[in-house]
């Protein structure tokens, strides 16, 4: 699109379209907002706002059982909420894809974000989720594509950690 600002979320959206991912659930994060907006505008994609990230695991599995592919978008703070729910795609060998915007790592302002930020890759790996990570905008499309194909081709769980260095650390001002 001429005049459109190049944004790496467009590359994720393109992967969704190419792989026929038609359901996107999320507990919102600013890092995902441009992608959520793209999905909201697309009549072929159902966007489901959750009250807790773990429900996106069950939703995604139910949708897959019914023949639809989906992705769960969340911030790293939500990963811990999903631990036991991740047993469901694991034991059923249902493909599960999540994209995680990272906090608590690169130039973080809020100390409360650090514990789960540090724990995020460990928690995912502890639950047998294949973890991909991207630090550069140029790699987002290929990394999400690889993670999605890993999930849907091998019936496994995959996560892409979108690094805070790439998203940009939010600085807070008092007052």
């Amino acid at each position: 699109m001429e005049g459109a600002i190049k944004d790496w979320r467009n590359d994720i959206y393109k992967v969704f379209k190419e792989l026929d991912i038609t359901m996107v659930s999320h507990v919102p994060d600013a890092g995902h907002t441009p992608l959520i907006n793209l999905c909201e505008k697309d009549n072929e994609i159902d966007v489901v706002t959750l009250t807790t990230e773990q429900d996106g695991v069950g939703l995604s599995c139910g949708a897959f059982a019914g023949g639809r592919k989906s992705a769960l978008l969340m911030q790293s703070s939500g990963v811990g909420n999903c631990i036991n729910a991740l047993a469901l795609p694991n034991i059923c060998r249902i493909p599960f894809l999540t994209l995680v915007s990272m906090r608590g790592e690169w130039g973080e302002f809020v100390p409360w974000q650090v514990p789960m930020g540090l724990g995020t890759p460990k928690v995912l790996e502890a639950m047998d989720v294949k973890v991909f990570r991207t630090d550069y905008k140029e790699e987002v499309g290929s990394t999400v594509d690889a993670a999605a194909r890993f999930a849907f081709n091998t019936n496994r769980s995959a996560a892409v950690l979108l690094s805070q260095k790439m998203i940009g650390a939010k600085q807070f001002k008092n007052g």
Binding site: Q54, D55, G58, C61, G62, F64, A65, G66, A85, N155
Partner: protein, 189 residues
């Protein structure tokens, strides 16, 4: 109070071909399996709290089928927020039946919140599921059947039932991948 197992079995015995049934972990799954092995059923044996979101995803993906979820008060209480998600992403083909025995029977009958002040019907109504009601008697069977097959969902029915332990009835397989693939073989993608 409803005697849950015969009640569930009666619903299953008269099932129509467009019905797919999901159950939450524990007694709800043993109830479902007690109606006989059927590929059109999928029972959770773990992942507590995930049955409602799973049923929502399934109902969204299969709008031409009627989706019925049997689950317990314990499973429902673990993910009360999922009721709000169901209400705000409405699916017309989903009925959630909460078999509410007001206790965690499988672990020694400790009381749940519904034994105290909590009313899941009111939670559902307050969350935005207007078609929500409580049944306490087998005589409400016909009303429930109408909800399952004919009414515009999403619906949530609280079935107050006896808190007594019933024999465990195991599914065809405890391997989730076997169960889900059998279930998926009954669905058109």
């Amino acid at each position: 109070m409803i005697e849950r197992r015969p009640f569930v079995q009666k619903i299953l015995k008269n099932r129509q071909s467009n019905l797919r049934v999901v159950s939450g972990l524990g007694t709800s799954t043993w109830d479902l399996m007690s109606g006989g092995d059927d590929k059109a059923n999928f029972g959770f044996i773990g992942a507590m709290g995930q049955a409602i979101p799973f049923a929502l995803g399934l109902a969204m993906a299969q709008p031409d089928l009627r989706i019925l979820l049997f689950t317990g008060d314990g499973d429902t209480l673990m993910s009360l927020g999922s009721i709000a998600t169901v209400a705000n992403h409405p699916v017309t083909n989903l009925t959630i039946v909460v078999m509410d025995n007001e206790s965690y029977v499988e672990t020694g009958s400790q009381p749940t919140a519904t034994a105290g002040k909590t009313d899941i019907e009111i939670v559902a109504k307050g969350s935005g599921i207007s078609n929500s009601y409580t049944i306490k008697n087998e005589k409400d069977y016909d009303r429930l059947i109408k909800t399952i097959y004919e009414e515009e969902g999403p619906s949530l029915v609280v079935a107050k039932c006896q808190a007594k332990a019933t024999p465990l009835v195991f599914p065809h397989s405890f391997d989730g991948s076997v169960s889900i693939n059998r279930f998926m073989s009954t669905l058109k993608s």
